[in-house]
């Protein structure tokens, strides 16, 4: 049990990082959620290790688990719930606009030009070259 929770947290965060590095938006969102689950277990462990004598307001016989990390986790859960909802809407919208949920295809899609004035200068590519993206590496080849 001592080792189980840290291993579980490590597993969740590892799976999350693996998923975040993948190219599909939905897997990326799942990865972010996995990371936040792992993080929550990690915070739980911060209160697990040490038995506090008593919670500040109760006069009952101990030992107690520290209540504070659980309060922190509640806050973190609420925040990650909201951000996950936002990410899902964002992915859905990206899919509606572009018809793809692949990160690379999303990045390669040129910016739309609209309105009476065409402001894509012939010398300026309509998508400005990005620094340090996978596209640059692909062109230059591995070093």
């Amino acid at each position: 049990m001592e080792l189980l929770l840290p291993l579980l947290a490590a597993l969740l965060i590892g799976a999350g990082v693996f998923l975040v590095l993948s190219r599909a938006l939905i897997r990326l969102i799942l990865g972010v959620s996995f990371i936040s689950y792992g993080v929550n277990i990690g915070i739980l462990l911060a209160g697990e290790g040490e038995r506090r004598d008593a919670p500040p307001l109760l006069q009952l016989a101990g030992p107690y688990n520290d209540p504070l990390p659980q309060a922190l986790i509640l806050t973190a859960i609420v925040i990650s719930f909201a951000t996950t909802a936002l990410l899902l809407v964002l992915a859905l919208r990206a899919y509606q606009v572009t018809g793809t949920d692949h990160v690379q295809e999303l990045a390669d899609r040129p910016d739309p030009v609209r309105g009476p004035v065409v402001y894509a200068d012939p010398e300026v590519p309509s998508v400005s070259p990005e620094i340090g993206t996978a596209a640059d590496v692909d062109q230059e080849g591995p070093r």
Partner: protein
Amino acid sequence: MNVLALPVLLPLFGGSVLLMVRRSAARRWLATAVSTATLAATIVVAAHVFRGEILVLQMGSWAAPFGISLVADALAGLLLLASNVVALLTVVFAGSSLQHAPVRGDSPLLNRARDAFGAQALLQFLFMGVNMSFLTGDLFNLFVAFEVMLLASYGLLLLGGELPQLREGFKYVVINLVASSVFVITAGMVYGLVGSLNMADIAERLQAHGGDVRVTVLAALLALVFATKAAVFPLGFWLPNSYPVPPAAVSAFFAAVLTKVGVYALLRTFTLMVPAEHALGGLLFVLAGVTMLAGGLGMVARRRWRHAMAFANVASVGYLVAGAFIGTHAGTTAAVYYLLNSIAVVFVLFLVAALAERVAGPAYRRHGHLGLYPWLGAGYFTAVLALAGLPPTGGFIGKFALVRSMLAAGGGVHVAVATAAVLAGLLLLYAATRIWREFFWGEADAVHRVAIPKAMSGVTAVAVALLLSLAVFAGPLYGLSGTVAGQLDGNAAYLAAVLVPGAPPRTGAH
């Protein structure tokens, strides 16, 4: 001091009411009124802390290690004041730009939709998060403040749902979420190690952990998070593409203030909580030197107004972080003075870029605008002098003081970073001069003059005037920076102000 809660509460209430107001004109006036009131509250706070006091508000009268403390020292007061001045100007500029839909660039319909879907309210929530990050004295509350700030910024960045917004917004959201996850688990581990989340209490308890490698790991994790927010070199790759995406007024506020929140958190961590982690400070100092060069080179490479200005912002973050981690009193003083200059100059540059994009589209290679818009040229010229660090602007004073204190600190690393600072200044000057040559000089490409709304040009004029006043009142402001740096030299005064001696001892902690 209950006034400490006002910079957080006023934008919260203001933003909530703004969500319910239906008329666009009413929203504009209400947002301006709320931001003016917030600014007034921060002036009251600043008037106290600039005399050297440290204001503390224990929320709900829970004594320091148990409750959440709001703390304002001189650094927090200075940043609160600067960011709320910028906030008020942003609200006026945003109101005007939403009202007068841009002629080119974004379609008018989209801008009205942004207004209707609560861009003004989201701006107020953003200000709330920023003010809370400056004021809070609690590590977990700082995480919450960051999240409030970031959620509002996601909304502002994504409102409109166009392709560039979706693409850059997705990166921005995911990177910030991962950084937040690291932050919150670090807060948890800090609690596990020392049994407290109050920053002053953490600082006191960590003094007993001298030389503990776990403290170094925690400090490194915090540095990683805050350096990502501040866009320090290898971690700032997300910034230059995402900041130009939202509406102009919003990206001006993002650039001028949000990166500085990261710098503030770095300063707070390394002066208050872990003042003994010199090796990490040295690493950040070197990275800051690289950040300056990366910013300068990036600005040379970019062909669009706000993309170039975003890199100028990265470079100015480099100068700030370098100054903050010189580790001498003179260095911190210079960094604090340059902080004011950096906020003002980046804000002016983004406003000028907004007006230039309004009249000529996002790419700046459109010659001959000086004759049509002479005052825009004057504003840009002033900002460039301050950005490159040429007299007679505050940028010169700040950069001169930074480089001099780096050289005075001695050591090969300091000399190398000072060289990088001078080189980056030249790069910024070159990039800015090229924009001057390609946009303002030459035969006029423009066929007709596009009207600039009075409120937009007025806000830009006020911002330029503030930028110039940094040089005019350099003496008193530099003295004030000295006061701020004096408080950052040691954490004893902060600890004494927050941790009340009569508070009952915590049970069960080691």
